[in-house]
Every structure is written in C-alpha cells, then in structure tokens.
Amino acid sequence: MKFSKASGWPLTWCILCAGLFAFLGAATAGEAKIDARLLWAVQTPPTNSASLKLMSDQDIIQKLSHYRWTFYYEMMRTNLLVGDVTQNVTLSSNCVIGIKQITPNHFEFAVIGKGVPVVRMIQKLPKNDAVVFSGAGPESESAWVVVLKRRE
C-alpha cells in the first residue's frame, strides 16, 4: 500500500489512540499507601499499661467511635505500598493481612488467623478512609482491632 498523505492520517490517529490507551492504562495502575495497625482494645487500662503505647491518632479514634472500648493500645504499626499484587503483612504471630488493589478505589483484604483464612473482603477505600477488622480478645472485655487506613 502506498503511504499517501490521505492514507497516513488514519494511521497517525491509530498510533495516537494506542498511546492514549497506554497512558490511561499506566495512569490507573498506581500504588496506594496504606497504614496498617494492630490495636488491643480494653475498657480499663491493664496493669502493665505503662509499657504499652496508647494510640493517640484522633482520626482513628473517631473511626473507632462505634466501638465501646475506651483504650486502644498500639501493638504493631506498618506502612504498606499496595499494588495489584497481593501483599501480606504480618501484624502478629496470629494475624496476617493480605491486601491487593483491584481498581483505583477498590481493595481486596484477607484476614488470616493462625494460618487459617478468616475473612475475605472487597471494599471501596478512598483516601483517608479505613477498614477495621476486629474480634473478641483472649481475655474478657478486650478485643483485637486491625485498622487499615488509606493514606494516599
């Protein structure tokens, strides 16, 4: 086929469109920053509270305001860079969290307790929102709380 001026235009636009799709594909494949914390929630301070780090993040305290616990101690905290590949983070010997980004605003979370899958969840998580997994603690009137807050 002879490359004339007339036949060159569709080819040019096809290349431009291909570039646009490539750009859009790259733009939607960004990574998200997630702040992961493991908290121990109690009604009254334990005897060894002096050695524990009381959580002071007011935003997270507000997010946990539906719970009836008064004190939240930060047992573990880590920052994650989450992409479209599942990332596992060990928060304690009994708790592993798997996180994967499936759309720019949706994430898949998996909670694994003592090596056993406990729950799998797909959740919309815009910036500054949080997903909180919790359950009754080994001692009465206590709970474990995992807070996954999206920072960026």
Partner: protein, 171 residues
Amino acid sequence: MTHEQQLKLQAHLDRQLSEAEAREVTKWLAADPQAAALYAELKNTRAALVGGEAGIKLPETREFYWSRIAREIGRLERLEPSRGPALAEADTWFARLRRFVVPAGAMAGLAIAALLALNQPLDEALFETSVQPGAGTQASTDHDYAHGATLVWLSFPSQTGAGSGQSESSN
C-alpha cells in the same frame, strides 16, 4: 597560459584594454599559436551568443506589458476557488480546521469513554462491600460514613462474647 593571460584575451575581445595593451596583445597573438587559438574560440563563442539572443520587440510599452501580466495573475488567483468543488474545499481554512477537529473530537470522546469504562463504572459495578467469611467465622459489617470507616466484627461460634465489642447504636 595563465588565467590572467586568458582574462586579458577576453578583455581584448571585449575592447576593454588600452591602446598600448591592445597592441601588445596583438603582437602576442601573432607570436603565440595557443593564444591565437583561444582568442578565436572566444570570438566564435561570442558570435554564437550574440546570434542566439534574438531581440524581442514589444508591441506596447514595457510598463503596459508588465501590468498586463500582473492583471492576468490576479484574475487567475480570483478564479482559483471555482476550479472544482473538492479542490476548493480542500484549500479553505475551514476544511483544514475540520480535518484536525473531527479526529481530535473523536479521540477526546474515545478518551472520555475509556476513562468512564476504566474507572467509575467498574467502581460502581463492584459492591461497595463484599465480605466472604471463612469456615466457622461470622462477620458483621458496619459503615460509619461520617468518619469514613468500615467496621467488620469477626466472631467465632465457639467463642463466647461474640460481637460484644460493637455498640448498640451502629449505622
């Protein structure tokens, strides 16, 4: 023969030399056959050129002749758009603009459609929350839209006090 000598022969032919120089060149031509041969060739060439440039006599004045050419060029330029519909359209600024705007508009539409398809519909098509508890696990979910939190309380039937961490006034 040097270049200067050649130029001197040409100058002699063009009668640009002084009388004294012309006499010297004449003597030189008589004595030097090579110079005489070149001089003859230059002379023939000039004769050929003079014969080839036939003079053209204009029937009118020079100014009138050129003004007539200018008028003809102007007339042809004015006639240019009416040569043919396709050719005329191709040359207008609107056609040129349209040739750019139409594909650009199509591409913009394509980009918007791609953005919508890649982001929002996919986001909205998915459940806001989809929870799949593992075997032997119960999950109750609450949304606190005011504070941007989704709370999942996990309980196990074998455990006592399941769900005891949640307040009664959850959203």
